[in-house]
Amino acid sequence: MGISFDTFLFLFPEAILVVTAAAIYVLGAAGLSRARWMPVAFSALLLAAWCAIRQPTDLAVGEAVLVDGLGQGIRWVAILVGALFVIMSGREEGHQLTGEIFGSLLLIVVGTMLVGLAGDLVLLFLALELISIPTYVLLFLGSPGRASVEATTKYFFLSIFSSCMLLYGFSLLYGLAGSTSLAQIYGTLAAGQLAVGEVGQSLLTPLAFVMILAGIGFKIAAVPFHFYAPDVYQGTTSLNAGILAVFPKIAGMVALMRLILVMSPVLGFWSWQTVMLLSLLTMTLGNVAALWQTNIRRLLAYSSIAHTGYMLMGLVVALFSSRDVSADEGFSAMLLYLVVYAIASIGTFAALGWLADSQGVVDRVSSLAGIGFRRPAAAACVAIFMFSLAGIPPLAGFWGKFFLFWNTISLGLSASFSSMSFCFIILAVVGVLNAAIGMGYYLRIIAIMYFPAEEAEQKQIHSSPYWGSALAMLICAALVLAVGIGPGRLMRETRDMARSAWIERAAEENSDAGVLISRSFTSTK
């Protein structure tokens, strides 16, 4: 059970980050201030990125690690997002200065990278845990006080519970296929050579899928598993809330995508119906609940829930059309949305971290009143992020929504699925309607920044002297604008990512006798 040298070489960027994280944890006790650790963490990320570029392409990597476009793409996304968070966390107004935050951050980045690369159930689970466990530490480090401890406790217990469900699902999947390797599982499922009988399959497949969905549903804050999000976001710092809003969502979506591709031969029509129900519930509840929130981080928590709902639309499309290449379109739209959402979210939380009132942090929506004129740069950036999240045309978020909705509606209209088309048209209509509802609270934030009511108390918001948050905010704003004006590059990348994840399977499929069986199975559903 040794790891081949090539595999190690392939995972070298991850190894660098883990070693750096360990060093920061150990040496952090020596009391070096947080600001000093920032360059260390940042250069570790740069080094990892450099290694990832210079990597030889002809490595004989073990089966546990997948070398495909999706993995590489997620690797880059994780490094980029990680770098933005590292810049942001150099210093934070009114919070303890601890070095460990960088160690945790780097581990979370590694976890996200590994989720993209994992080709084995065990590695996938470990990678997801590598995101969860440092998050507990981060939440605890966030800020002293009852609210923070409560938030940490809630997240801790519920996260463990979700991991249990996920693990249970994985074990059922293992039981079905008799292997933990994703490629082998796919081969077995596609060939119909299940370890259990026909009855066992019909019982266990849904159970496995639901368990996996529940476990990952917690990480991406999909509706019945979302309850922690508002409380935890509210109880912690802007930085932590940003980390929670981005990393688990990227990892969870990618993991779900991988598992769906693997399980596609045995997933029946119930699977897309389940996900569709989740999607409808998630976006509607997220948007409606966000409408009247007064705490800004709580509002953004509901907004992030709603965005999960939109992303699930892409998954529904992919699940339904898993038999043909239009599954790519569902996945690529979802990935595009994921990246675009991540940028805008990071920017929003960076802006909130940069602004601070006399009590230290911006908590209430109303404390943003009038910053449009006193902090024009921050307000302009926040407005860009809000418009992008709402999906107003020339910005990045518009393209995400555009392709998600378009995929859904064109699936609904395509002649060959006429009996089911109704569902997809409903889904698209509800999605677009939700985008209109969502505008309500995004506009509230913009309105309060630029059109403060006279009677509202205008707190003296000052910006924190730390430049890092401002820099991250500006970078994100520039990215949102750039993707909005020239979406071609990112669209091409996400499309290639989605296709590569599929083509790997297709290549195996061709070499396998399972082609015919899987086709005939799926066409009867």
Binding site: K154, L285, L413, G488
Partner: protein, 758 residues
Amino acid sequence: MGNNQTIQALIVLISALPLAAAVLTAVLGPRWLRRWSHVPALVAIFVSFLCSLGLIQQIRSDDAGTVSVGFEEICTLWTWASVEDAYTQESDSSTTSGETTTQETHDFTIDVTLRADALTSAMLAMVTFVSFLVVFFAAGYMRDDPGYWRFFSYVALFVFSMTMLVSVSNLLLLYVFWEAVGVCSYLLIGFWYQKSSAAAAGKKAFLVNRVGDFGFALALLLIWSTYGTLNFHDTPAGPDSDASGYAASPTLDTDHELRGILGQTRLQDDDFAGGAVGTAICLLLLIGACGKSAQFPLHVWLPDAMEGPTPVSALIHAATMVTAGVYMVVRFSPLFLAAPAALVVVAAIGGFTALLAGLIALTQNDLKRVLAYSTISQLGFMFLAVGTGSLAGITAGMFHLLTHAFFKALLFLGAGSVMHAMGNVIDMRQFGGLRRLMPITHWTFLIGCLALSGIFPLAGFWSKDAVLGAVHDKIHELEHQQQESEFSAGQPSTAAVMLVSEASRPDATHQEPSPASFLKIYKLLYWVAVAAAFLTAFYTGRAYFMTFWGPLRIPQEAGNHAHESPFVMTIPLSVLALCAAVVGVAFVGLDFERPLAEQLQTNYFAEYIAGTPSLACDMVQATTAPGGFHFSVAALSTFVALAGIGLSGFFYLRCRKDVEWWTALASSWGVYQLSFRKFFIDEVYTLLIVLPLQFVASVCYWFDNCLIDGLVNFCGRIPVWCGGVLRSLQMGFVPFYAMFMVLGMLVLIAARMLWAGG
């Protein structure tokens, strides 16, 4: 091809200049320009106006050769987004014959393209002209406002967005600028954000528009799915194709060409989606148009938008932005013609809105709100005209759009002038008899009122008459069809044959609507429109008499300096008054060679607009042609207009006491309250939409706070409890230690076994 280059340069300049002005004002305004912030916008928009006149001249000169297909000139600026093999689509060879479904990969490209055609150039000229006058006016009106530069920067940005909106040749870009004008409108309604009502009105306008955009967005997705493109024009496939992109002649190899939604080849083949999808597309587009143009279910934002500065009301909420919905329906009229059911809905919504808004306007006391409801009502007229689906109706709608822009901008600016003098009081009950005090405002306002009421020979008369005439023609046409079908129904064998042929027809694209069902609707709508015309005259007269007649009354807010507005404000009023007076007559051509009844057969504006490619195609040209002047209709509309003004004069001029008697009578029936409270539509929305959402939100809140917190708090106690247990373990319960040792051993053995097995 020097002509093409001129056109391309002009169409780019028209939009680019206001954008440059907006940026310049935003950058230089606060520091250097200050009091002169209006200059960049004023100059840029004026040059844009000249350019659009030049554009019209170019198109007219080119028009002669290509009357049969209309004239269009496409100008591709750059490629916005381009991804090759972006998506696969089950493509049909054409939308009407969907047997061959093959998976094809398509590239995804969005070109930033502008188009020059008759419709666009007419809209551009109108927008830039009115904008120029409004900016001129605002230079005086906004003089002492602290946000002087901000105002002109926003206005220039709006003019840029609006000119782009009417000149882009891609549906996605149309959507982009559709949103952009919405954002500008939001910024300008909430310009005086210190007033909480202004900020709320801006938000309401934006959100209601988002509901409309929901329809537009879905329509956009549906169109892309159905037509496979978002371009209006045909896109040549190869780079070696004619660079001008001008496809007037059916090109040799149409296979290599991506057919636009409104491209020449599609127009000639008459290849538009009908049936359920076609109707759905049109209805969704209509929702979008209703949002922007404030039609019935979504009209609630426009009256509130009057919280913005008055020049904004004149420019955005009377003349330009609100007509974008009409422009869109006209632009897509071939799609609507392919879906007759949607067309009837357009007409019905227009007619109903015209009546409803007219009824509400009767009792409003806020001068600007009367004008706002009047705008909604007149937009209803335009929708009604376009909803007839005949060339006569569509051109009549556009004609009314043009004349309305002049006289309604005039009325709003007049109201602004009154407001300026009255210390920002706009309640008509607080002032009166201003005709001596403000003579220029009075006379120009009077011209506007008469034009709005439709009194001969002012602009409103001609356009309103064209609208009513178009509906009248439509009724004739439908009656004619009904007689024909009755005639053929008399022969049973023919009917059977028709049934068979109906069923066997492969495409249901041009299934004729059953005339009988629509005939009643259009007949009703005709009388609704006549009633609305009466109401128009009445509330216009009411506003005029209450403001300018009776004893002189000036509110306290005006102080002692109530005066006629300065020249910078009265000059635009005079220019607009001149336009409102002559713009109708100017386009009417007398043809003395014909008999008297047909002398007014031509309308130059309608002829010009009919040169737009989407109107010049056969399917539109086959419908009733414009220009038919009906003396009976004209007599009827003049009669009701005079009756409305006369009645309002009777109530509000001669014996003002009767007003109370009249309102007492009306309120005893509850009618007055119904109109005064705007038919309780806002309240209904609160009840049906806001409250349920609030309820769901509060349920979520309760769920979060009580149920989940309780659960989590319960979980939170577990560690404390566990800690207690662990402490008790540490206290020295030997049996426990022993048990854990055994357990640990078992775990180790298990691990060992697994290790060996693995």
